[in-house]
């Protein structure tokens, strides 16, 4: 009886902890949603349960006054190209590193591991000057190129780790049947590595979408802003004046992203652990 009572108290305590955490998780999210329906612009007069419920801010975002849709488009372009490009570049590099023996292979792996730890920040001055010299400053192309190059060390390593887990017998058998290098890559490695390639694509789609630092340095004209920079400027210009607008704009981005994440979370985690711990 005592045992059972003890167990019940434990379960109750666990639910209590979970409830507390859930409240902590939902409070800021619900607060943001509430704020976005407030009528005024200022944070001071806004409250979590709006006194005058209005959709003004959402309407404003889609009006011709705001560049919101343009930023949305820019962000989708940057993210889409980065996602596709990173899968191509990374899988090529990872295939060579996983299956071939060549001069510089081992050192290349060490360099990848080292480089993936360095933040882009450290390279910022040089990138700025370099983009300026080749005329790609304030363009989406310049931004995409930096993303594509910067993701290689981390992702090549991740994908290489996954390729290593694909049995070599498979590609050797294909070779005996007369398949060439590219054929093995295309018909055997890529289909088998779909889960990790999906993870790479997803990460590289999400990362530029909400990277703030790099676009804020590379992009200077409002026409080229990505969502993160644009939204930040809503509240940076005059703090608290446009926070309600920022909240509305953020919700329209965060909801689709969160939905995709929650839907795909299982694959994300299995992909990361496969590459990260076994790799």
């Amino acid at each position: 009886m005592n045992q059972k009572k003890k167990s019940r108290i434990e379960v109750a305590a666990m639910y209590l902890v979970l409830t507390a955490v859930a409240v902590a998780i939902f409070y800021p999210l619900v607060w943001t949603i509430g704020i976005s329906f407030n009528q005024g612009n200022s944070l001071y007069s806004s409250s979590i349960i709006p006194e005058n419920f209005s959709l003004d801010h959402y309407k404003w975002l889609f009006s011709s006054e705001s560049d919101y849709l343009l930023w949305y488009k820019n962000s989708l372009i940057v993210s889409g190209v980065t996602a596709v490009g990173s899968v191509i570049f990374t899988s090529l590099v990872a295939y060579a590193f996983s299956r071939y023996q060549f001069v510089g292979r081992k050192n290349g792996l060490y360099i990848f591991l080292l480089l993936q730890m360095f933040p882009v920040m450290m390279a910022m001055v040089a990138l700025y000057i370099f983009l300026n010299m080749i005329g790609l400053l304030d363009t989406l192309t310049g931004l995409i190129l930096i993303y594509l190059g910067g993701q290689i060390p981390f992702n090549a390593w991740l994908v290489k780790g996954y390729f290593d887990t694909i049995p070599r017998e498979l590609d050797q058998a294909a070779r005996i049947d007369g398949a060439g290098h590219l054929r093995v890559f295309w018909s055997i490695m890529l289909p088998l590595a779909k889960p990790i390639l999906a993870v790479v694509a997803l990460f590289n789609f999400m990362m530029p979408l909400f990277d703030f630092l790099l676009p804020s340095i590379v992009l200077s004209s409002a026409d080229n802003y990505t969502l993160a920079v644009g939204l930040y400027n809503f509240i940076n210009d005059q703090f608290a004046n446009n926070f309600t607008r920022f909240a509305a704009g953020s919700i329209l981005v965060a909801v689709p992203i969160a939905a995709v994440y929650l839907y795909l979370q299982r694959y994300l985690i299995s992909g990361l652990t496969a590459g990260g711990t076994k790799g």
Binding site: M14, F89, P119, I152, H181, L213, A228, I269
Partner: protein, 442 residues
Amino acid sequence: MALPDYQQEDNKDTRGSKKKKHSPALAVCLSILFAGLGQLYNRRYVKGICFLIIEAAFLATMLQSINYGLWGLRTLGTIPGTDHSIRLLVFGVLSLIGVFFALALYIANVLDARNQARKIQNGWKPSSFRDAISSFYEYAFPYLMTFPGLLLMVFVVIFPLLFSVLLAFTNYNLYNSPPRNLVDWVGFDNFVNLVTVPLWQDTFLSVFSWTIVWTVVATTLQIALGLFLALIVNDPRIKFKKLIRTVLILPWAVPAFVTILIFSAMFNDDFGAINRDIIIPLLGGGGLPWLSDPFYARIAIILIQTWLGFPFIFALFTGVLQSISKDWYEAADVDGGSRLQKFRHITLPHVMFATAPLLIMQYAQNFNNFNIIYLFNEGGPPVRGQNAGGTDILISWVYKLTFDTNNYSMAAVISIIMGVIVSCFAFYQFRKTRSFKEEGEI
């Protein structure tokens, strides 16, 4: 076309191999003299001509600009107003990279001439042109695969890092910035200033110690909370597991950029929801100075990072916990192990073994977590007698030095120090990873 050419080549080589008078040393000398001559001597005409053309083209087009680049790198310009030191530095670094690749190709050429000559000396008959092409393809395939990625990486990652490192040894700052003035090499002066000039010394020490505290406390907290919650949800007595897991992963799914800015507004001293709705009703008073007092700002940032970071750890641990075999726990039950013992000797080793590299990455990520520091409070509040704010970590300090005060050389010095620390993380990863034990075969 190619067909008669290789037949002729074939015949000559057969004769050559009978005499066995072919000298590898001569082939090496010739190819050192001018790339491709050795291959011509070996009667590999197509390859030889390729190398000849490459070297000739290199000498004709690149030599001058590389020479200029290296001159610029050495002097950083001599005439103020005309020579742009920083452009020269960029050219110089690019020239260095160019020279490196040219040298690599040149050495490959010499080695190739030597190996070929040795083979001919030993009576090797050259294969047909088509075979030669296909064997070249076999050999070069991995290089072709890595080339596009490598090229991009050289420009986007390696070149900027080299540039930053070199910048640390110059006096590039607001007061002598080009084109009006010239930048000079100053050796280790910047490093010496960092530890001797009181302003720099104080700032560096306080920023550095806060960076360490931040990295250790914030990361450990998020790992501990993630593990704790994973254990709770994994308990068989808990129901609605799927729903609970979805809720707990929510902070990971919402873009961090958005949540940090939201928290920043919520923690606002005057009209933030934390003060207005929680602190003042519960504790009374005027609310806590979350943004204007360094101590509270640090607490707030650590709390926010815990909120942002624990779901990933939670999801990771949940996956591992489910994979631990029940046999372990049953065996422990038979032996009468307590719950704490089971946790310490079964659960913890399993979880840590499977996730150690990813956990180390978490520490490295927080060490470089620019976003949260900058977006929360731009590193503020300001601190008297320092040129960094109260919550600035090394990376956000580098950002301020670069873009606010344009003290590029000092920013580069601090970047190098960060690089050294980051390398320690990387070194640990080297030893943990199994990737290196699996060799490529083909």
